[in-house]
């Protein structure tokens, strides 16, 4: 396996040249990306920086004889946790900007100083400690890293594993409880809506749909009102927008045609008069 060859230590406990190249390629990227988390103005950019750091960490784990942890790093951290972060970012609002108001005066500079002090202390401890010669994991990773890890986890750490399982169940329940919302008003289902409509019947509300325009008359245009069974035009059947714009056809004229037919004449008896009126309106439009 390539990873095993790359991860093998020399006799002096030094890493191989290939691993050194890998480290010096990834380490600056990781530090720059972590600076992105610290300085990025938008939360989404910060999240992308953290994802970069985590994927680079997965590479370093594989290089350090921990391929199982490398895969878990990608699947759990990058795949699950950071995606959860992005989901919540979308929920809360991507444009939720950082407030620049300092609640404690000078807190920002004190925090940066504290962070640098922490770096100096931690790095100083790591540099000054006299390490024994690194052993390497060639002996411990037999036959393979995941199998050797399984022996340790289900052997020495079996109880801890069960406790962690209980923790995961509790966390899932906790998230459910925390995001649960009590219903303040009863839910409006089909039955209650039906009852409300029937009760509104006394106030002149309609149970049936409105008549479609024009279908009972000689015209089926949208601007012609439908005629009821009694020959009267139904004003409600014309779209409200057409009425507001004044584009509704004259309902009375179309009703009058019915009356003329009922009286024994022809519907178009007074056609010349209508044509004259139409000519007048078209002339007005031309001017």
């Amino acid at each position: 396996m390539i990873t095993t060859i790359a991860a093998t230590l020399t006799d002096a406990g030094e890493a191989s040249t290939g691993e050194a190249v890998l480290f010096w390629v990834f380490a600056p990227v990781m530090v720059l990306a972590s600076m992105g988390l610290l300085l990025a103005r938008k939360a989404v950019h910060a999240a992308l920086s953290v994802i970069t750091v985590m994927i680079c960490l997965a590479f370093l784990y594989v290089a350090q004889d921990a391929p199982f942890l490398g895969v878990v790093q990608v699947v759990v951290y990058t795949g699950a946790i950071m995606m959860l972060f992005l989901f919540v970012l979308m929920l809360v609002g991507v444009d939720a900007s950082d407030s620049l108001v300092e609640t404690i005066k000078g807190q920002r500079w004190v925090a940066v100083l504290g962070g640098m002090g922490l770096l100096v202390v931690l790095a100083g401890v790591v540099m000054t400690v006299a390490p024994s010669t690194p052993t390497g994991l060639d002996g411990a990773n037999t036959p393979t890293n995941p199998e050797a890890l399984a022996v340790v986890i289900f052997g020495s750490y079996a109880f801890a594993l069960e406790v962690v399982g209980a923790l995961l169940v509790t966390a899932a329940l906790g998230a459910l409880v925390l995001t649960h919302r009590e219903r303040l008003v009863p839910k409006r289902d089909q039955k209650t809506r039906m009852q409300a409509r029937v009760q509104a019947l006394g106030d002149g509300a309609l149970l049936t749909p409105l008549a479609a325009p024009g279908v009972y008359a000689r015209h089926n245009a949208m601007d012609v009102p439908a005629l009821g069974p009694d020959g009267e035009p139904l004003e409600l059947s014309v779209n409200r927008v057409l009425k507001v714009r004044g584009q509704e056809a004259d309902a009375a004229e179309y009703a009058a045609r019915i009356d003329r037919v009922l009286a024994g004449g022809w519907a178009d008896d007074e056609l010349p008069a209508i044509e004259a009126a139409k000519d007048a309106t078209s002339e007005e439009a031309d001017q």
Binding site: A46, A96, L149
Partner: protein, 104 residues
């Protein structure tokens, strides 16, 4: 290359994460700083496992990942719950426990 380089990188990442928690006011970004600190300790644990030649460090890093997953679920649920009531994801706006009585 000495394995100490991994530990120094881990301390750098840890410090940047801690500074992020202290400086940033957006609750989600501060939370990501905590995740960065956990990742830095994981890198240190994996390196320690390699130095000592046994797998207990890797097992510990594995448990850190599991606990971090549980912690993120609860933490983000809290952030969402606060956002619902206060319409804000800023840490400064969560001040209901502050004593706001008139000093006079």
């Amino acid at each position: 290359m000495s394995l100490m380089n991994y530990l120094v990188l881990s301390t750098v990442l840890f410090s940047v994460g801690a500074t992020t928690v202290l400086v940033r006011r957006n609750a989600i970004i501060a939370f990501m700083g905590i995740e960065m600190m956990l990742n830095a300790t994981n890198l240190a644990l994996v390196t320690f496992a390699r130095i000592n030649g046994n797998l207990h460090g890797q097992v510990l890093a594995f448990f850190v990942m599991v606990v971090a997953a549980a912690e993120v679920v609860v933490g983000l649920a809290i952030i969402v719950a606060i956002y619902r009531t206060r319409r804000s994801a800023s840490i400064d706006d969560v001040n209901l426990l502050k004593d706001v009585r008139d000093p006079a």
